[in-house]
Symmetry: C2
Subunit: 518 residues, 2 copies
């Protein structure tokens, strides 16, 4: 074991220090108890802010200068524009031109549109990224090219890290579809409306300096004020703050693949047979093709049996909005809009509530609602025979995905991973996952096109389904079936150099991501 590496409670080898700061190894679900106080931002005074409330400065560079941008600072941004973000690359372009070095970028997520940041990672403007490193940035990190170590957190873990002072944001730059000169801002109005700004809430509350960037400056008061101007230092007007059409990232249509439709159908049937689809139940389904198909099946069961869901957790999309408008769900509690129908519904319908990682996911809180969602439908790149799952790396070791709300949703009452048994002839079920993102004790059911595995910890579900015609097997049976078809999968070719770590929801380190051999 390398110096400063320890084995954590999940049996994974993790560093005890990351980017020069001590970290705590994962101790098990609910085992690590924080014994400290929240991070304290500086107390401001109105005496230092304009009496007329006008915080507008001419441009982003001026705002960054006034905010005191300098070497080594932590710069945060949100990802509500997803692949349509127009501000992040601009921030680091300015920083690079100013000769500022060794910044930490702390996004709530990154997207392929951020590929241009690679040059700032290379030229020393950015030291490292704490946030999801997807696609091109993931490849860059996996190949060991980033100076610092990447830190991956769930959406809730990001709130926790800010609240707890693990990450201290020097400057938050928050793109806002609508804002007033005081800095009140929202995501539901304006030509670039993207829905909400919940991922920016912690940044606004805890960052030392907060800059709002908008292309729709309105008279005070900007309502709803999803972000309060009372947290804001400067407001910048730009021509275009983001491309809302590009919030439609990834698959947002119901799958047409027969295998995947079968998975969706079996998942819904299982939920129905296990009695999970009942009056007042709640569910979370993502925006992927299988998930959308599952929601659609849920809707059918509900219609046929006159069942109303108490709430559905979004990522909202047109399918979920239709369920709300049809009265099949009473409320959507929405963390991010995945299409423009979601944006419209949130703007118009008070039963489509915007949420933030504080209300939904923060584990260092007096509870959060992730734990009372009845059915949580999630994905995975790999699952092992103990139901441990990976969402970050592929089986070749490459870091290609962020965590999103995935870890947080594991606290749902019934966590189901509907996944194909293999992808590109690579089996998904492994003896051991390449990267551990979430512990198996929180994962209840794996649904594949060739069978369903139920976690033996859920004897209650096994009992309820004992007379089912569904193809319920053991997870080892599923693994063996995949291997019979695809052959035994090869291990990824990794070095022992840690290029990133995966944090658990409580800020402890659950696993390491290693440099791939290239």
């Amino acid at each position: 074991m390398t110096k400063n590496m320890v084995k954590n409670a999940a049996g994974r080898i993790v560093p005890t220090e990351i980017n020069g700061k001590k970290v705590i190894p994962y101790q098990g679900v609910g085992k690590y108890k924080p014994d400290y106080r929240k991070f304290s931002p500086r107390v401001a005074t109105c005496a230092d802010y304009p009496e007329d409330g006008n915080k507008v400065v001419p441009d982003l560079k001026t705002a960054l200068l006034k905010a005191g941008l300098k070497d080594g600072m932590t710069i945060s941004t949100h990802h509500h524009f997803r692949d349509g973000d127009l501000i992040v690359n601009e921030i680091f372009k300015i920083a690079s031109e100013m000769g500022v070095r060794n910044l930490v970028w702390f996004p709530s997520a990154s997207f392929p549109c951020h590929e241009p940041l690679i040059k700032y990672l290379e030229d020393g403007t950015i030291h490292h990224i704490e946030g999801s490193m997807n696609g091109p940035l993931g490849v860059f990190v996996s190949e060991g090219k980033m100076k610092g170590t990447g830190v991956l957190r769930s959406h809730g873990g990001r709130y926790q890290a800010i609240q707890d002072g693990e990450v201290q944001i020097d400057i938050a730059i928050l793109a806002a579809p609508t804002a007033d000169a005081f800095g009140n801002a929202n995501g539901v109005n304006g030509p670039s409306a993207c829905g909400l700004l919940g991922f920016a809430l912690a940044d606004s509350q805890y960052a030392d300096k907060v800059i709002i960037v908008t292309d729709n400056l309105v008279d005070f008061p900007c309502l709803p004020w999803q972000i309060h101007g009372n947290y804001v230092d400067y407001v910048v007007r730009v021509d275009k703050v983001g491309i809302p059409e590009k919030i439609v990232s990834g698959t947002t249509r119901i799958t047409k693949s027969p295998d995947r439709l079968l998975i969706a159908e079996m998942t819904a049937k299982l939920c129905w047979e296990a009695g999970l689809i009942r009056e007042g139940y709640s569910f979370q389904a993502g925006a992927g093709g299988i998930s959308l198909a599952i929601s659609d099946y849920f809707a059918k069961y509900q219609r046929e049996n006159s069942i109303t869901a108490s709430f559905a957790r979004g990522g909202s999309n047109k399918y979920l909005v239709e369920m709300l408008e049809e009265g099949l769900v009473k409320y959507i509690l929405d963390g991010q809009t995945f299409d423009l129908e979601g944006v419209r519904s949130m703007r118009e319908n008070p039963k489509h509530q915007d949420t933030s990682p504080f209300t939904s996911y923060n584990y260092h809180s007096k509870g959060n609602f992730a734990s009372f969602i009845d059915i949580a439908i999630l994905g995975a790149t790999e699952v092992d025979i103990n139901f441990n799952a990976n969402v970050n790396t592929h089986s070749d070791g490459y870091l290609l995905h962020g965590i999103g709300g995935w870890q947080n949703c594991l606290f749902g009452r019934n966590v189901i991973l509907p996944i194909p048994l293999f992808r590109n002839r690579i089996p998904i079920i492994r003896d051991e996952v390449t990267t551990l993102t979430g512990p198996g004790e929180l994962i209840d059911i794996i649904v594949t096109e060739r069978g369903i595995a139920i976690n033996p910890r859920r004897q209650d579900l096994l009992d309820k389904l004992k007379n089912s015609q569904l193809p319920i097997k053991t997870i080892v049976e599923l693994k063996e079936e995949a291997e019979r078809i695809c052959g035994k999968p090869q291990k990824p070719q990794l070095t022992d150099e840690v290029v990133a770590v995966v944090k658990w929801v409580d800020g402890t380190v659950i696993d390491s991501v290693y440099k791939v051999k290239t």
Copy 2:
């Protein structure tokens, strides 16, 4: 000068220590700059809270026991039910029966309905009150009967004190007209709807333990969630949480007194002539009889001249709601509803926005909107020849009123005090105020039935009104006129014992309140 007393920047003698804690004397408007960080509440963990989100306990006593109620704790409550509060007396009855002693009561305001607390102040259950001590409690304090020293703060100053850690709340007990079992709560729905819960926001964010008390427990999610359950420890259901009809406290009808109508008419005329009533202007007017009449005159000027106000600041009432519904004001930014029409409007109309002392009044913030209100109409019990004003004590020295939002509103662009020249033959304009609540440099205009005085600092207003037919005089002329009619007023008969202090918006001590000679 007594030991531990100093003269502050306003020339008032104030203690340097209150209830055993060091305090800072007032240093002038905008002069005291905080150089510290916000108070840090303890970090909680979901591992310690019920997974199903059900925080309901059988009764208030159980909740207080679980919250660890013990001697010397600080107990906070809000006053959205005003004189219809039903919970506060119950809290201290339980505490007294449990034998708990030396509590600090930290309400956002107190009302005559809290007179029963006198017995708990006498028997040692309550050590002292930090909050407004009106009516019977004020008399009790003024006569030197409270064990500790009272501390009066503005609504904004209360948020500041909590945020800055000056007051550390051990248990917040928050009456809520609607709540779910997780603790999400609001004031707009339910049989006891009182409008909003903004005064409880800081308590929820910063208290160590938070108890929600409701008579309308609804299914999750309770929306709107004006208070987030993520801050809440326990939820208690009671038969009746408050009497909403009694939020109609004090005068909430337009005055019929000819003198007061004259004051209102002159105030509105002055605002019109000075060009303050113009397209997009904003105003704050209270719920007193003169204020309501002034709003009514504003409405007339607006109608006659097709002027729309950008927003009105409430305390809302039916008159203001009518202006909103007529389109004379675009938004109401409401801190507390003063009647049931205000409650209805807030529930139904998204342009009737609930606010909190954080958004509206906190001086230790990156600005707040009190400073961009064009016309702030406020009251006073006394004004001196330097425009300093008193809202707390009467001229006999008795502490009979809280500060409310009064100090915070002084930051408005044009602060007008429409007040009678004398009350019960006691002149209002004095050589020196009995208690200094707000410095004269922030008070622009005094309007009395016998003349108007404009602060000489406002040469711009004097210039604009130089050809006016309004009876503009000097404040000394007004004082002399009152004294010609009523005689020179007597000084209050006070001892040198400090029974309470008045804090400025920044937490410094602006004046002392002395025990009266009885």
